[in-house]
């Protein structure tokens, strides 16, 4: 009983120190918000809103060609960010691409996160032969340069979004498995897990209800780094022509298209890269901010 009450008193949700402060200040302290996290979340909200409201924010169809308007520079009267070699509005293409790239970031991480975390808790909790086997598989997969393996897999499966998710997922689960495994090793012999065992909880229940929730936080933080990596990988693949196929607007592909017109239209390559920069910085700040909180 003594142990239990001590744990309750030390749990962050019941921190009594800030009970007297009021308003926003209280919230900030309660949720342990910091400038990095707030900036990141703010930026990310804007990016998500832009993706959701793409149709409202763009005056043009992102794939509609208007050859008479080709190569208009940024701040042209009708085209705020200019046009490309087909006269397509670059702002519209960048905005629509936000949807696609966010989607790539999300789905490339979702399944590896779930699978990796489950593997991590399973190997960490049970140990033994399964653990050794999985860790050796990890050793082997880690020997491949990530991008090269993804490209090799894509070369067999062919270009396209689903294949991109598969290729990224083959290696993508590893960080989550390693992180959750390490946390599980630290958690599995704590009092509350022993207590659950004593009460007769099934192994599956202990792993999923008692160990996993306490081991998942660092993996959740890594999700944001993982999303940046996935988006950059997606952009790289589409830069190389292995991603979503033209005329679908995607930042990497837009950069590739602009390469032939570097001297003529620098904006075709630079602007989509800036969009990648914004989304990458937003996600990184959220990840860093969450990590600082711990």
């Amino acid at each position: 009983m003594n142990l239990m009450s001590e744990q309750v008193l030390h749990s962050p949700t019941l921190d009594l120190r800030f009970a007297s402060s009021t308003g926003i200040r209280k919230r900030v302290k309660q949720w342990r918000l910091n400038a990095t996290l707030l900036t990141g979340v703010g930026m990310l909200c804007v990016v998500v809103l832009v993706a959701l409201g793409a149709a409202l924010l763009t005056p043009y169809d992102p794939i509609a060609q208007q050859l008479s308007d080709a190569f208009l520079p940024p701040f042209s009267p009708a085209h705020i960010l200019g046009t490309d070699n087909f006269g397509r509005d670059i702002w519209s293409r960048i905005v629509y691409s936000t949807r696609l790239d966010l989607q790539i970031g999300f789905f490339s991480v979702l399944f590896p996160f779930i699978f990796g975390s489950l593997i991590g808790v399973l190997t960490g909790y049970h140990g033994g032969k399964l653990d050794v086997l999985v860790m050796r598989v990890v050793d082997v997969l880690m020997a491949f340069p990530f991008l090269v393996l993804v490209i090799a897999i894509m070369s067999i499966l062919g270009p396209g979004l689903t294949n991109l998710y598969i290729a990224v997922g083959v290696v993508g689960w590893i960080p989550y498995a390693r992180i959750v495994r390490a946390e599980t090793l630290a958690t599995r012999n704590l009092e509350y897990v022993q207590a659950a065992r004593t009460v007769g909880c099934s192994t599956a229940r202990i792993m999923l209800k008692h160990v996993l929730p306490n081991a998942i936080a660092p993996a959740l933080i890594y999700v944001f780094t993982g999303m940046v990596l996935a988006i950059l990988t997606g952009a790289t693949l589409s830069f190389l022509g292995l991603g979503p196929q033209p005329p679908t607007p995607e930042w990497g592909a837009m950069i590739a298209e602009g390469r032939q017109f570097l001297l003529l239209a620098w904006w075709m390559t630079t602007l989509p890269g800036l969009a990648l920069l914004v989304i990458g910085v937003a996600l990184s700040l959220v990840g860093d901010g969450l990590a600082e909180r711990r």
């Binding site: 050793d139 020997a143 340069p145 991008l147 090799a152 022509g241 989304i279």
Partner: protein, 313 residues
């Protein structure tokens, strides 16, 4: 365990990992449902050339025999014939491997300078303007794709200021160094972006250690304390991160080669993918994995030289 016993253990592990790597590459085309010959040939596939390919890759033999052909071929340095160029893969790839490796090492050298300069600067200036500026700039570099950053450097330094050539590789060693500077800088900056974050926090942590306080109390100069006492210890974890990042460096090198038109493995790899020249893709994948394994072996061994207290378990 002494160093030699450890090396032996690591080499055994390395053989095991290499075995795993070949199994994966070997299994990749065979695990997917359908005829591997048709899968490899794609649109080009006819019954006739599929049969020829089956013969060349030995796809009509039992699996274990196929695997033996594949592995023993690699061990002998013969990796089959390219489907596109109709010449031995070893000849095609062999010429390009040194170019890619030199570019990667060039990038590593630049990364070492950049990481040490800005990592130390950032840590010493912790919390001040310089620190924030360095961290912000490298966060930007970290979150942009290297091909875009490379193109940006071309726009500014090659097309704009005309300091460097736009693309190519050059003829003599001096030309190589000059031509490869921008691609190596692109890769080096991106690598440092990861390393600086780590080095900075490690230096800040190490500065709080007792032995650093002792060193200062002895009256050693700040410069000496930093280089002899702090840096040597802080570098340990940065080198680990470097080992983990080496795969990314190789991957990045291949991509950057296409941006700067450097005749390395990258160009060949992407041509081969478009042409579905699978034996070449296979060979390059194995070679890059081998490089990563070897570099990480050296990283693990370097610990005991940096810190004599390290014993291997």
């Amino acid at each position: 365990m002494n160093r030699f016993a450890y090396i032996r253990k690591r080499l055994i592990l390395m053989v095991f990992v290499l075995f795993g790597v070949t199994i994966i590459i070997f299994g990749m085309v065979r695990i997917i449902p359908g005829d591997p010959a048709f899968l490899i040939l794609g649109d080009r596939a006819t019954d006739q050339n599929a049969a020829a390919l089956r013969e060349q890759l030995g796809l009509n033999k039992p699996l274990y025999e196929q695997y033996w052909m594949f592995v023993s071929g690699f061990a002998r340095g013969s990796m089959g014939d390219s489907l596109l160029y109709r010449q031995p893969v070893a000849d095609l790839v062999g010429k390009r491997v040194p170019i890619s490796i030199s570019l990667a090492f060039y990038a590593m050298t630049l990364a070492a300078f950049i990481t040490l300069t800005f990592g130390i600067w950032s840590a010493v200036q912790q919390g001040r303007v310089a620190d924030h500026l360095i961290r912000l700039s490298f966060l930007f570099i970290l979150t942009t794709p290297n091909f875009w950053f490379g193109i940006l450097l071309i726009l500014l330094l090659a097309l704009g200021l005309r300091w460097f050539p736009v693309a190519g590789f050059g003829e003599t060693l001096q030309e190589h160094i000059w031509y490869l500077f921008l691609p190596a800088l692109t890769l080096g900056l991106q690598l440092s972006a990861v390393l600086i974050r780590n080095l900075r926090s490690q230096i800040i942590l190490t500065m709080r250690a007792d032995y650093v306080r002792t060193a200062r109390a002895k009256g050693l100069s700040e410069r000496w304390v930093l280089s002899r006492h702090v840096l040597r210890n802080a570098l340990m974890s940065t080198i680990t991160i470097f080992g983990l990042q080496f795969g990314n460096l190789i991957g990045g090198t291949l991509v950057i080669e296409t941006v700067f038109a450097i005749p390395g493995m990258g160009q060949l790899l992407f041509q081969s993918i478009t042409a579905r020249d699978y034996p070449v893709v296979q060979a390059i994948t194995v070679i890059t994995a081998f490089l990563v394994i070897v570099v990480n072996l050296f990283v693990d061994l370097s610990y005991s030289f940096l810190d004599p207290r390290v014993t291997y378990e």
